[in-house]
Symmetry: D2
Subunit: 312 residues, 4 copies
Amino acid sequence: MGDIIRETGLKYRNWGKWGADDELGTLNYITPEKIVQATRLARRGVVFSLAIPFDSKGPQINQPRRFNPIHRMILTGPDFTSGAVKRPGNVGFADDMVIMPLQCATQWDALSHCFLDGRLYNGYDANLVSSEGAKKNGIEKMAQGVVTRGVLLDLPRVKGVDWLEPGYAITGEDLEAAIRAHRVTVGTGDALLVRTGQMAMCRARGGWGDYAGGDAPGLSFKTAGWVHERQLAALATDTWGMEVRPNEIPDSYQPLHQVFIPNMGLLVGEIFDLERLAADCAGDQVYELLFVAPPLPITGAVGSPVNPLAIK
Amino acid sequence: MGDIIRETGLKYRNWGKWGADDELGTLNYITPEKIVQATRLARRGVVFSLAIPFDSKGPQINQPRRFNPIHRMILTGPDFTSGAVKRPGNVGFADDMVIMPLQCATQWDALSHCFLDGRLYNGYDANLVSSEGAKKNGIEKMAQGVVTRGVLLDLPRVKGVDWLEPGYAITGEDLEAAIRAHRVTVGTGDALLVRTGQMAMCRARGGWGDYAGGDAPGLSFKTAGWVHERQLAALATDTWGMEVRPNEIPDSYQPLHQVFIPNMGLLVGEIFDLERLAADCAGDQVYELLFVAPPLPITGAVGSPVNPLAIK
Amino acid sequence: MGDIIRETGLKYRNWGKWGADDELGTLNYITPEKIVQATRLARRGVVFSLAIPFDSKGPQINQPRRFNPIHRMILTGPDFTSGAVKRPGNVGFADDMVIMPLQCATQWDALSHCFLDGRLYNGYDANLVSSEGAKKNGIEKMAQGVVTRGVLLDLPRVKGVDWLEPGYAITGEDLEAAIRAHRVTVGTGDALLVRTGQMAMCRARGGWGDYAGGDAPGLSFKTAGWVHERQLAALATDTWGMEVRPNEIPDSYQPLHQVFIPNMGLLVGEIFDLERLAADCAGDQVYELLFVAPPLPITGAVGSPVNPLAIK
Amino acid sequence: MGDIIRETGLKYRNWGKWGADDELGTLNYITPEKIVQATRLARRGVVFSLAIPFDSKGPQINQPRRFNPIHRMILTGPDFTSGAVKRPGNVGFADDMVIMPLQCATQWDALSHCFLDGRLYNGYDANLVSSEGAKKNGIEKMAQGVVTRGVLLDLPRVKGVDWLEPGYAITGEDLEAAIRAHRVTVGTGDALLVRTGQMAMCRARGGWGDYAGGDAPGLSFKTAGWVHERQLAALATDTWGMEVRPNEIPDSYQPLHQVFIPNMGLLVGEIFDLERLAADCAGDQVYELLFVAPPLPITGAVGSPVNPLAIK
């Protein structure tokens, strides 16, 4: 039943809100003042990387299109120590390369990643995302982002569990309860980091298993309105797909994506590792932070690997 | 004559300074206090991306090992708009991938990128950087970096020229003159951004030409001591190779790299686009900023693409 | 004016000729008897490889989508000689990989490579060649090919020139004249190898230049009927694009491809190196041979690299 | 105990046999007469491809370095049918690419693939196979091969079993028994195709399992002399690694490779699909054939994917 997706998408649609030519979506909520204020949240000078390791042990197991990063050397130490390769002055250099889907590990979804009825965010034609790359809403348009206030909502900790079970649909009430418990606010231009604990679960059971594409805790489709009202700049989770799986709407596929990305123009992050940050926040009870997560400006890309930093 | 390289390297060697197990090098100069102070430099809330576009039009022209990023789609808009591919609910998703050398565009050199006489920074064996990747000094060790104060030194602007000519060797006096002209300080834990204007030159002449590997302005080998004394955390330029080319020492290849990286443990950045930032600094005469430039934590990598952000 | 393309295509269309499910096209002309007869053409036991080297020095210069093969080592001699990597018994192994467009060097065009008005050879929907690969007419369907009689027509030699000039349109008369001069026949099930000498020209001038996609000698659009009547199994040239360039029909792009591939179902080969074979044929005046050119059965591929062998 | 490997290697070493500059090894056993004779074995005009499909469902499961072929489209049918991409005359073209280890599927091992005590076949230094590729014994040197007589030895059929069990070491007696049972000869310059039935086993059990690198039937180390005396040009099996696994010699890794490749200069093929061919041979009781298996001439490669053809 796709109507509820289209109805909800239409209800929270931000097309035209920042101009007919806009390709930034909710990043527009981040004002210069917001950026300055966000930097003041760095109080202890501690930095947390929210990226998982980019390597062959990542979560892309038996996926149809995505695979784990393939890192290969181009030039090595042994090339030089063995005398096989030489440079003047007997110096040595190593070089390397990577082959990876842009959404194989910690990632931003570009606003060109999803489309509904042939339309991208702000009404652009989905045919503009052909084999030639995204001519609209490409991730490179966000090269100056993302710098803003980040807020962590640690749902399992609030609920007193190690992790939310796969299939658990996070509601607006859950988010509000976490906000209250953390004594934090969530507002315009914030990057909301929602911890489900699924990564902790994977580590506890010793492997990614079906983390990529299998059942997972995540946002309920019903949170669309809550997110819209909060005027978030970005939203990221520690799961593969941000929203609850199995999806709540019959015969749908990642329906909340369709509300958030092509309609709302919301920047969505996935596979964020929130474990160390969450432990720190539990320690000092400060759940707000300076969040800096610049995508790689790959021209025409529909996503980007990212090493998001949380600075407290 | 390699002796001067080895002598200079030995003189400014930081091995053991931060422990026998250290793999962070000069990033250790960045203290929590430094991070907090750096964030206060964000005064106007303006963000500058210092990355060039990651695409096929990059500077890697006819290079023996490095090539420009190859971005290819995995799933497209037309797949769905044409009806060739379907998802439940008639939603559509685009996906993509990249193939790229890790040092093909704006980049950090990992401390495993260079070695002299078979030794990496902190004395590790260069054989630890085999075809299996860097087991020591890999870029993933720097996942929590780089957050610190950045200082831009805009040399051509100080000298009243559009750009420094290829082959121009920047001296300690040049750097000091820029510091005075910009009324800025440079000190422990800073990331120093040195603009030579070579990118402006390439744009003026309409192409990268031999930017990658050809003659270039850059730091003189004689600045090694100056850099060492300043206790920089990182140093980046708008050129392919940071140091002046042709190299100043006969029969050598990138000799300053050998002092900076394996001996000093200095984080070096290259192909940083400093043009927009420089224009802004010339406008408000503020040459210090919050610098955030997280590498992608690719396990065992000897470099990383990066989208460095300068926040003022 | 596309009508002439469509009219000609319709005239020589082989859809349904070998069944509604056929995906082999003109390879069907090769009967078991033909194969046996072809093998008897190996009289001297001399083998010619018709492939150019697959490496970074290939012809794909500044192409929008295709690039030269990227060959990278995965494990090397120095890894072992340096002691960096070890295997039991002190043995050593090298490993490697390739990244390449399937049509970057000597190649077969699969019958899924071209389509006209949304239709592939035998009427299949062009949407079956989506980002998920070719579900019809993929090159893997030709895994048992190509084994047949080959005939070389050495046009420049017949005309007494070193090579045909770029822009020269080879006519049916030219082909007939070569057949007469070579005292050879061309018939059902043959693989016709047409030498234009363009590769000799590139070597004489010291580089590929605009070989890939620039002006080139090649078959005139008017040879469509001649080729159709001959009932060739395959046709290959020493040029990038088989047909003459600039194309003869205004506002068209490789129009003869559209007649040959989606309509006729003809297997087309490009970038075949015919130089050594041509010299040999000029020597013994034997222009027929055993031709064996198996594609790599890459599932769903629209082309394949190939090392075609001519055996005399 | 590596001595037996070195002793055996030395005993069957062919260094210098075909000149100090030779890079072809046992392919030298194939004379022009041999080639002509081999072609006469094509009697029925039937062709068998011995390649497995090159795709993501291949046997490289959880391997440290090798992965299954990654095939991706560069340009598709939907790009054109949707109108997203246009060419003059409304024609359409599809393009694609592959990323693959050269030894991920049906393959030839180049003579640069293995080395013992720092030496390749014919005594070349293993350092010549650095990150810059194989400067000696690269697969491109074999571009004119492999055309010769092929002989299939179908061991399980001779033994009356469906397949040889993993760990079964094929002896010279087994090979002789098969030769007798098949009423065939094996001699100088032949390509010997040894069927163990392991692929049939994988298909029967529904998956590759640990086919790549796990226990497998294969040649016993003790067959080294038998193979040497037969003066084979090439030897291929339907297994991942040709020789029996677990390896018979304690503390060794693929010891027979070290005798065959760097010492004997024997061309070794792996992951050959012999199932259909074996069924045909069982039917007509003819176990000799024309064998044509040209490698892709990838410059400096230590292996090559191949689609070997058996023609009867």
